[in-house]
């Protein structure tokens, strides 16, 4: 077989889908997260309901949506609502079990930057900004982060704090009275991380097959903490890859 058994993107999608086992509601964007959620519906979370920032609950898209506002998300959905209801009743009301977020930069406590590289007032690169990320990070019961691992992205200090993770770590979120539990998982193309320690600091828990510990520690912009036991991420199963390639993303847009 000269063809690669799976791509890094597929590994991320599969890892995210597996982490949604038993989850009832997920707040989702397009692209990889969307495919991951639909993969979860086909596998570990058949009752998973997708909530889109655009005001859609229980979407059943007839095609792969091109944006979170794609009309295919509306037609045939369970409920389509004003954005004030989406943010206030669903998100702030505590009905989102898991939200999937990404960013241009992340720090060791899972704080995210999606606003600016360089100085806010005279930016090197102006990024999209918060969108709903700031309140999602605060109100969703749990947050999973999906990002490619690189030293440009996993940094010691963010250029801008857009959305809080565990803030300064430890019980910072609880002290600040944030409703949600914050980041629980970071899914990358090389490894998985969680925050299961008293400092709520990102820690390596699983290396994807063929990825070395050295490669990961080099790609993280701080001295990365390691869980007591380091697992190897389970390979994507044939069924999972089949679903991604032939059902969920037949055109290979997110391969």
């Amino acid at each position: 077989m000269t063809e690669q058994a799976y791509t890094p993107s597929e590994m991320m999608i599969v890892s995210a889908a597996r982490a949604l086992a038993g989850v009832q509601t997920v707040f989702v964007g397009v692209g990889q997260p969307n495919i991951a959620c639909n993969l979860a519906r086909h596998t570990v979370a058949p009752d998973l309901e997708l909530i889109y920032e655009s005001g859609v609950y229980g979407a059943q898209p007839a095609r792969l949506p091109l944006s979170i506002g794609d009309p295919t998300l509306v037609t045939g959905a369970t409920s389509v609502i004003p954005m004030i209801d989406l943010f206030a009743l669903y998100l702030q009301g505590g009905l989102v079990d898991v939200a999937l977020l990404g960013g241009a930069q992340i720090d060791r406590y899972g704080n995210l930057n999606t606003t600016v590289i360089g100085d806010y007032q005279s930016p090197k690169v102006r990024l999209p900004g918060s969108g709903g990320a700031c309140e999602i990070a605060i109100n969703a019961r749990s947050v999973y982060i999906i990002m490619r691992l690189s030293s440009r992205a996993f940094v010691e200090k963010l250029d801008f704090y857009t959305s809080p993770g565990h803030m300064e770590g430890g019980d910072a979120r609880a002290r600040a009275n944030l409703p949600g539990a914050g980041p629980q998982l970071v899914i990358t193309d090389m490894a998985l991380f969680d925050f299961n320690n008293p400092d709520c600091e990102m820690q390596l828990v699983s290396l994807h097959p063929g990825v070395t510990l050295e490669a990961v520690t080099e790609a993280v912009g701080w001295e990365v903490r390691k869980a007591e036991t380091l697992a190897e991420t389970e390979l994507p199963a044939a069924e999972e890859l089949h679903l991604i390639r032939y059902v969920l993303d037949p055109d290979g847009m997110y391969r």
Binding site: T72, S79, G94
Partner: protein
């Protein structure tokens, strides 16, 4: 899709407990008398009853002694006059004392909204120059950090149970209603437990064909009760009219506690359920309250494949 269908008996038995706060909402329309009657029939006690307009349903429930507290904003038999049983409880403690917690309509609307939105308070331009805050210390003010005067606020209202009547739902509780929307959506989102009572149980496809009409998602619904005419003598838009003769009759019956209790005996304790109630009402009632047709016209969501 989880099947949440229950009989009214089982829904009330399972989800309404003594001492809880219960909101049966619906502003002059969609008032779930069937649920109120079942609560009376099951002898629930010490409830906090919450409703903007207590209407006849709470008049009956309070006369039956299920409540120790009433949270409200307007005490009237709409278009007719007084709620005599509520007045008797407040003025004369018959059949039992009734504590009251009183707001204006906007105040109640704000309380439900804050409850549904998980906000610590809801700000509103009301209560200045009114005695209401003097008698209800939960009506407060906050300063405006943008420089204007202080503004009144009310605290979130989060009922233990909300009971919402609607035209239709699927078996997992995705619920559509049209007509007077009142505060039903907010009451449902604010409550810990939601019982939806519908005229029609429909297939999931019917709901999905018009997602903008789904105001209450099954996600927040605990039980779905299929109870046709469950809102009689109140009404359901497009399904039946208000049975105004009963609203007038109740004005007479309710003036006297013994007479009221006789009515409760005959129409609630003495019968088993809503089907029997409608049987006993007589066949002509259904015909009398049937509206004509006024179809909404079709729209298209478009198929995007």
């Amino acid at each position: 899709m989880k099947d949440k269908r229950l009989t009214m008996h089982d829904a009330i038995a399972e989800y309404v407990r003594d001492g809880q706060s219960v909101a049966i909402e619906g502003f002059t329309a969609f008032i779930c008398f069937a649920a109120g009657h079942e609560i009376i029939r099951q002898n629930k006690r010490d409830l906090t009853l919450i409703r903007m307009t207590p209407d006849l349903i709470y008049d009956q429930m309070i006369a039956a002694g299920v409540a120790s507290r009433l949270v409200f904003s307007y005490l009237g038999n709409p278009g007719v006059g007084s709620l005599h049983c509520v007045r008797r409880a407040i003025e004369k403690e018959i059949p039992a004392p009734l504590a009251i917690e009183e707001y204006s309509h906007f105040g109640m609307v704000g309380r439900y909204t804050a409850g549904a939105m998980n906000l610590p308070f809801f700000p509103l331009r009301s209560y200045t120059g009114s005695d209401l805050p003097h008698y209800n210390p939960l009506i407060r003010t906050v300063d405006n950090p943008y420089g204007e005067d202080a503004i009144a606020v009310v605290p979130p209202l989060k009922p233990d149970v909300a009971i919402i009547h609607a035209q239709r739902a699927d078996r997992s509780g995705n619920t559509q209603l049209w007509g007077l929307l009142g505060i039903q959506k907010e009451a449902a989102f604010a409550a810990s437990t939601v019982i939806v009572v519908v005229e029609e149980l429909v297939d999931e496809d019917v709901i999905r064909a018009d997602p903008n009409r789904t105001l209450i998602p099954g996600l927040i619904v605990n039980a779905v009760v299929h109870e046709p005419y469950g809102a009689h003598p109140s009404y359901v838009q497009g399904y039946y009219d208000r049975d105004n003769s009963f609203y007038l009759k109740w004005d007479e019956i309710s003036r006297d506690q013994a007479q009221t209790e006789a009515w409760l005996e005959e129409w609630i304790y003495g019968i088993e359920d809503r089907a029997r109630y409608m049987e006993k009402m007589g066949e002509d009632v259904v015909e009398r309250i049937a509206p004509g047709k006024a179809p909404a016209g079709a729209i298209d969501y478009g198929s995007y494949t």
